[in-house]
């Protein structure tokens, strides 16, 4: 199979682009509102900014059905194991967006109870700065994520399980 695939890279490329087309256009976020950023995330889903234009309005309540984990807000040490577990419950392929300074780096809270950046516990695909980022900022971050997905090679990951992202 692998040899055949290597002999016909064209086929795989077409398959890749078809899969990534579906994936980038159907990112169902997991509604994980943690703090202030959650309100801006909801505002992004509301009428003025309307995330549904990208097909992303189906905020899933169950992590099993979501593709995109928007970490919107401060992750505390008490919350960190839960975030990690929710991420583990999500089905592959999955992506993570760190929304807001707190999720990116701990933000304005260099204290005993705040995790200094969510990338310490789960891999992050896109970082969005701001305290909180405006809805435009979030949408921009999601479009960058779409570009990133469009450039990925899902078939490679299926054919060579070892090539799966380890970051």
């Amino acid at each position: 199979m692998t040899d055949a695939a290597e002999r016909h890279p064209f086929l795989l490329t077409r398959l890749d682009s078809a899969i990534t087309w579906a994936q980038k256009n159907s990112l169902w976020p997991f509604g994980s509102g943690l703090a202030c950023c959650a309100i801006e995330m909801i505002a992004t889903a509301a009428a003025r900014y309307d995330i549904s234009r990208f097909g992303m309005e189906l905020f899933r309540a169950s992590p099993r059905q979501a593709d995109l984990f928007i970490v919107a807000g401060t992750v505390t040490n008490k919350m960190a194991p839960i975030i990690r577990r929710l991420w583990e419950q999500m089905a592959d392929p999955k992506w993570v967006v760190a929304m807001g300074n707190c999720a990116v780096s701990g933000g304005p809270f260099p204290t005993y109870s705040v995790l200094q950046g969510v990338d310490k516990i789960i891999p992050v695909d896109v970082y969005i700065a701001g305290c909180p980022p405006t809805p435009q900022g979030l949408l921009h971050g999601l479009m960058i994520l779409q570009k990133k997905i469009a450039g990925s090679h899902p078939t490679k990951e299926i054919l060579h399980p070892d090539a799966r992202r380890t970051d």
């Binding site: 040490n77 008490k78 260099p110 204290t111 005993y112 109870s113």
Partner: protein, 160 residues
């Protein structure tokens, strides 16, 4: 803004009544920025709160505030203070009761008098490690049970 207690006869009356009832404790009565603060002994606190609630009609406990004076509590002072903000509605009267306690000293709980003290006392227990005697459910309220230390003590570093 009145700077003398005599400008506020209503508050003066409360202060007089407290002094009459509980004698002249350590720091006695202070009046600052229009706010009345009365220092009472920790052991007499529930009696003082009950007196204010039932006799003087202070029907709301606004807040409980913990203080840590570490490392220099001052001459003859104890390390911690707890401030009780009481309010009378209607009547626009606000009184602050202050108690001083040392490390390891337990404070009588006022949950039987004000239900709202339940979480406030848990918060002070969590943040300062002050134990409330008679509290129905004294556990940490914010931090996980396995957390060591009490963050709002002055000798606790910010980064933990």
């Amino acid at each position: 803004m009145p700077e003398e207690l005599t400008d506020r006869p209503d508050l003066l009356q409360v202060a007089e009544a407290l002094r009459e009832r509980f004698g002249d404790p350590v720091g006695a009565v202070a009046f600052e920025k229009g706010e009345l603060a009365v220092r009472v002994r920790a052991s007499e606190l529930p009696a003082a709160v009950e007196f204010l609630k039932i006799v003087r009609g202070f029907n709301a406990l606004n807040d409980m505030i913990g203080l840590d004076r570490h490392p220099a509590p001052g001459e003859g002072r104890k390390r911690f203070s707890i401030l009780y903000q009481l309010y009378r509605f209607p009547g626009r009267l606000r009184v602050r009761l202050v108690i001083d306690i040392d490390e390891g000293e337990a404070v009588p709980s006022i949950v039987p008098l004000f239900k709202s003290a339940g979480w406030a006392e848990r918060e002070i227990f969590d943040m300062f490690g002050i134990v409330f005697r008679g509290h129905p459910d004294l556990r940490r309220v914010y931090l996980p049970e396995e957390f060591t230390g009490h963050p709002l003590r002055k000798d606790f570093p910010l980064e933990g």
